[in-house]
Amino acid sequence: MRLLSPNGWIFGLFAFALTPVQAAERIGTVTLLEGPAALVRGTTRYAFAEGVRFRPGDIVEVSDKGLMEIEFPDGAALAMGPGTQMLAVAASHGRSAAGDYYVMRGAVKVSRVTKSTIFRLVTPDFTLQPVEGAVVMVLGAAEGSVFIEGGEARLDEPASKAAGALSLRLKNGQFYTRKTGQKGVIGPRPSEPFIAALPRLFLDPLPSRLARYKERDIAPKSVDEASYEEVEPWLKAPPDIRRPLMPRFRPRASDPEFRKALVANLRYHPEWDPVLFPEKYKPKQPAPGAPGVPATAGSGPAR
């Protein structure tokens, strides 16, 4: 079965993921946190802490020196390296770990994946679905790479100018890399730059610390309402990602600073135009005297 292209299914999942019921559903627990990491939930910016439950719609930003691990009830784990930006698009159902995540940049390791786990990591260059075992992914500015540490994974490459859409099955030990706009290449082992980009934690099995947070639901500490700069990458993301975010951040348009920034960057997200300038989209009043328009008392002929 061929996966839908990221641009196709994400849009649909968004509507599902961000419903109030789904938003309350827990899809994982932050069990390891080193350095600061920010969470944008709704329109509010929070500081992550160990024990915080992860929810669909959450935007994660790991600091440049930070590290974070999220564990799921079935034992699967997802770790994010320094500088990772990720959006939880969809939630899990039942005990098995599942979810769709849009990873904008950074390093991600998914571990302890079983056949019942359904993870999909969507990136601008490919969609990765670990089938079993552990996979590590690094997303740079113009290149994305995947190493199958153990087990196997499915990878879907969207069509580009260089080649058409492609579906691959990556086996244990294989290394896949794709430069933006080019065809992906599979190698027998990870490249040195790839290994150098990995945080040390990724080179070992991810630790399991879920037991210590199983009975504790720690609320993230609210910092402030998210500013435009803080969510700018997401508002300027590919259309299928940023468009579903518009209703979510719409209330922030009433903030003069946020609005000013939206207006200044409108060309990157034109879908905000009706929100910012609704008057432009109001039905126009036909000109008096136009055909079919009755003349007003003052202007019509005297009777």
Partner: protein
């Protein structure tokens, strides 16, 4: 020959015999202890190497298993860790050496040189040979060595050393495909060799021997002087004075001399008292004869 000369001659003969016997026994004992110490040190080093290998194999290796998928870490190889540990030891004890001498090693530093290859061949030729010990001359002096065979007893070893295709790719990246392959189960591929310098313990034993002999000689010299002084003051001098007076009295001279003062009750004191009584009796007898 005077008494003191006789006494000293006997004393010196006894002293020399004692010194020679003590010298022979102590030297043999110290050298034997030194050799035992060398063997003990070598065995201790060998056991430490085996413990390091076992620790690496059972505890460090599994921890690095995932990392090995990214980069080959020689720290996970028992031979490497044992050698590294002893390289650290050698910073303080440069004369000591440990090597996992292998005929076809993955790491070139483990390649056996001529004399090491001979030892490995001994183990290969005699399958049940458990240990080889010996001594050899080195630029740093004579050295004692103890060697044990490296035999492939676990299939796990062959995952890196059977064929290039079966070996981890990260290992090939690091060491290349030329060496360290083609090993077989139960094959003796090398030998662990511990070398311990014999010069240091032997020199220590010689120093101990010299110190012991010097001390023994000093004790003998002290006893010699003390006994001579005692002999002079307690025996020779009073007997000489007594003999001179007895000589004079026997010739009828110095009959009025005062009695010897008796200060002790030992044999010399008893002799002096007897002489004083005899002199008194002789003086009285002489007087009776004159009247």
């Amino acid at each position: 020959m005077k008494l003191i000369v006789k006494f000293n001659l006997v004393f010196i003969v006894v002293f020399l015999l004692g010194l020679a016997a003590a010298s022979y026994v102590s030297k043999e004992l110290l050298l034997r202890n030194a050799r035992d110490e060398i063997v003990e040190s070598a065995r201790l080093m060998m056991e430490s190497a085996l413990a390091t290998r076992s620790y690496t194999s059972n505890q460090v290796g599994p921890l690095l298993k995932t990392q090995m998928k990214y980069t080959f870490l020689p720290q996970s190889v028992p031979a490497y860790s044992a050698t590294e540990v002893f390289n650290t030891v050698r910073k303080n004890f440069p004369e000591y050496a440990y090597k996992e001498a292998t005929l076809n090693p993955t790491n070139p530093r483990d390649r056996a040189n001529d004399w090491e290859a001979d030892i490995v061949q001994q183990f290969r030729n005699v399958s049940d040979k458990a240990e080889v010990v010996g001594e050899r001359d080195t630029p740093a002096g004579r050295s004692f060595y103890i060697a044990r065979p490296i035999q492939i007893k676990q299939d796990a070893c062959l995952s890196c050393h059977s064929t290039v295709d079966a070996a981890p790719k990260t290992l090939i990246d690091l060491y290349g495909p030329a060496n360290g392959f083609g090993w077989k189960l139960n094959e003796v591929v090398g030998a662990q060799i511990v070398s311990v310098p014999t010069a240091v313990p032997i020199a220590r034993a010689n120093r101990a021997f010299q110190t012991f002999m010097a001390s023994l000689t000093a004790v003998f010299a002290f006893i010699f002087v003390a006994l001579n002084l005692m002999l002079w003051y307690m025996v020779i001098r009073p007997v000489t004075r007594l003999s001179r007076l007895a000589d004079q009295v026997s010739q009828g001279e110095n009959m009025d001399a005062p009695d010897f003062v008796v200060k002790s009750s030992d044999e010399i004191g008893v002799l002096t008292q007897s002489f004083n009584r005899m002199k008194k009796s002789l003086v009285q007898a002489m007087k009776m004869l004159e009247t």
